[in-house]
Symmetry: C2
Subunit: 407 residues, 2 copies
Amino acid sequence: MPTPIHWQHRYARRTEQIQSSAIREILKLTQSPDIISFAGGLPAPESFPIEAIRAAADYVLTEIGSRSLQYYPTEGYPPLRELICEIIAEQGVSLTPENVLITSGSQQALDLLGKIFINRGDHILVESPSYLGALQAFNVYGVEYIAVPFDDEGMRADALEEALRSGPKFIYLIPNFQNPTGITMSLRRRKQVIELAERFGVPIVEDDPYGKLRYEGEHIPSMLALDAEYRGACDDYCGNVIYLSTFSKLLAPGLRMAWVTAPAEVIRKFVLGKQGADLHSPTFNQFLTYEAAKDGALDRFVERTRQLYGERRQVMLEALEASFPEGVRWTRPEGGMFLWATLPAGMDAVEILHKAVERKVAFVPGGYFHPNGGGENTMRLNFSNASPESIREGIARLGQVLKEHMA
Amino acid sequence: MPTPIHWQHRYARRTEQIQSSAIREILKLTQSPDIISFAGGLPAPESFPIEAIRAAADYVLTEIGSRSLQYYPTEGYPPLRELICEIIAEQGVSLTPENVLITSGSQQALDLLGKIFINRGDHILVESPSYLGALQAFNVYGVEYIAVPFDDEGMRADALEEALRSGPKFIYLIPNFQNPTGITMSLRRRKQVIELAERFGVPIVEDDPYGKLRYEGEHIPSMLALDAEYRGACDDYCGNVIYLSTFSKLLAPGLRMAWVTAPAEVIRKFVLGKQGADLHSPTFNQFLTYEAAKDGALDRFVERTRQLYGERRQVMLEALEASFPEGVRWTRPEGGMFLWATLPAGMDAVEILHKAVERKVAFVPGGYFHPNGGGENTMRLNFSNASPESIREGIARLGQVLKEHMA
């Protein structure tokens, strides 16, 4: 009689570090349609340019045909990589397609960063709190985090200098409208980080999914741009910044089209890693994204999305003002998709979440975003996905839960 | 003055094991349009059901709309997973969607196998020669290969038993129309492998991209089916086989849609690994693939592809008979996309390749497919991509090169 296989004895050690994203588990809890969820990180479906995507799909299949359905070189579709160079050129940085790799979502770029750079036991510097998907991607490679404290200008430079003395593999940052806090790193702080990273010879990974989604205030140059300026002219791009961004927030996430830029020699390492990981990103999606986004179309879509999210942000800020009890503070993000509320010390956001779900409203407790603990009294609120009416109603319910709890 | 960063000191140790696929490098050499290439593993573009894909894209964007462009749970689109259960049910195996994960090409399933199962220094059993993309995916995880000798019935059972005593993590096999050899494992041999794997408690990974592409002979039950039969009834699928297949050879590879089936607890590990790797496969491609493939459409596409490739295989076999010199042997694959030629002992297929490229014809030297060396006098020939005329002309040129070399 055959016996069942003992799978649990067969898994690799690293699987102990593969945890399900807490956000995804919470999303499952909150998927019932009667819940108003501020928990996810979903773009508004109304922002997707469906007509343009349909026209692009039709064009690609009619005019380009089978080439868009065939295997393709790992590096990606050259016109799409050129288009990404044009997007980057708006920042005043001159790249060539050799500096660009198309990835299957930014999540894949994060996984490849781990694959290429992280030996078990290596440490990297991260903001605390930081993006959970990045932590999840790096965890698999046995990384240890040095959590650099954070204030309303971003990662603190004094703490960074101390942390750099530990010899980290890289610094991982989300300078614009950070996920989860919504905080934007100041220009002064960015320049300090670049100079420190240069002094210690440590690369900067700049994750910038939301850079174009600013609703208030002045654009601040990216780390990529500031580093290029700091270094001055060189023949090829020779900077210290690996820059990640995505079409997920500009076009639609369901196409899984994103990119990484870096010095050409680093891109070649990424390409080898990606060959083994998925050969290449879907040919069809690359052709489709290029056709939908080219000739300035992307900027028109982004403008519409900015209007939509800017209004929702405003609605949420006003609702918080109207409904949240005294003693609760929150950030005022100048862009992006999230804001961050801090409850009085000693309060437990996980406990609040359970009460909130009973009232049919959800968020993500902030503790999950801290790689080494802390933040138990914080919460992340997404404002991009729910309608203005739902935002008002949901924040009112959440305010009620908080008031009752704090009474 | 800022100094350039020393990237070479930053890479992880495992990157030494990330090598560019030899096939991909050769493909670059042979991409000039005047070369007749038997080197790649490309499906025929004429086989892609472009009209059906266009109709499906239009339906998805018109009728389903933004949901097909939004983020999606990692596990994949339930109707597509149901459809895969129906495809597997043709083999007499009863699975549920909990046994199925949608992957971004089978390459991702191979990468996830490495991620989930392989600790540095672990060994796995592979056919020698074996699929290069699998070796490339596993290499990153620091695997060592035990190459089990191969004959015209597939992996040799006597050698397998000896190899199993080394405690491998799993056995990796391509039983149908193997890449690179075109050899199909016999029924007797399959049953022996299942009994041995059961006796030693070692899982079998069955990679089956070509199973439906048979042009001659009788279908042989998959390892998945034979293992289920051997084990008898159980409530959930409780087998010893992790089964990989793909829409790349049935529909079109540029959509990067593939799947893995396994016991539900193993799929849950795969899901966690995939979350960190790319969150999920493109929502749009999953909806599109389901709409294009459902209601028996897939079988009609496959029937057309079988006709096309069956003819090309026949043309290549006849051309080989007509043009190749005495002393060269080749396999007669009953399906798939490749055949395998063996030159007289002592001949070097790499040397032949260089002469062949001068005559504008290309193939892959067989040595690359042997994880631990050997096979220098062998060559892999793809018959799915070139037209019958090109196959005749290319094999004639290659025969000429061989005759001159052997004269």
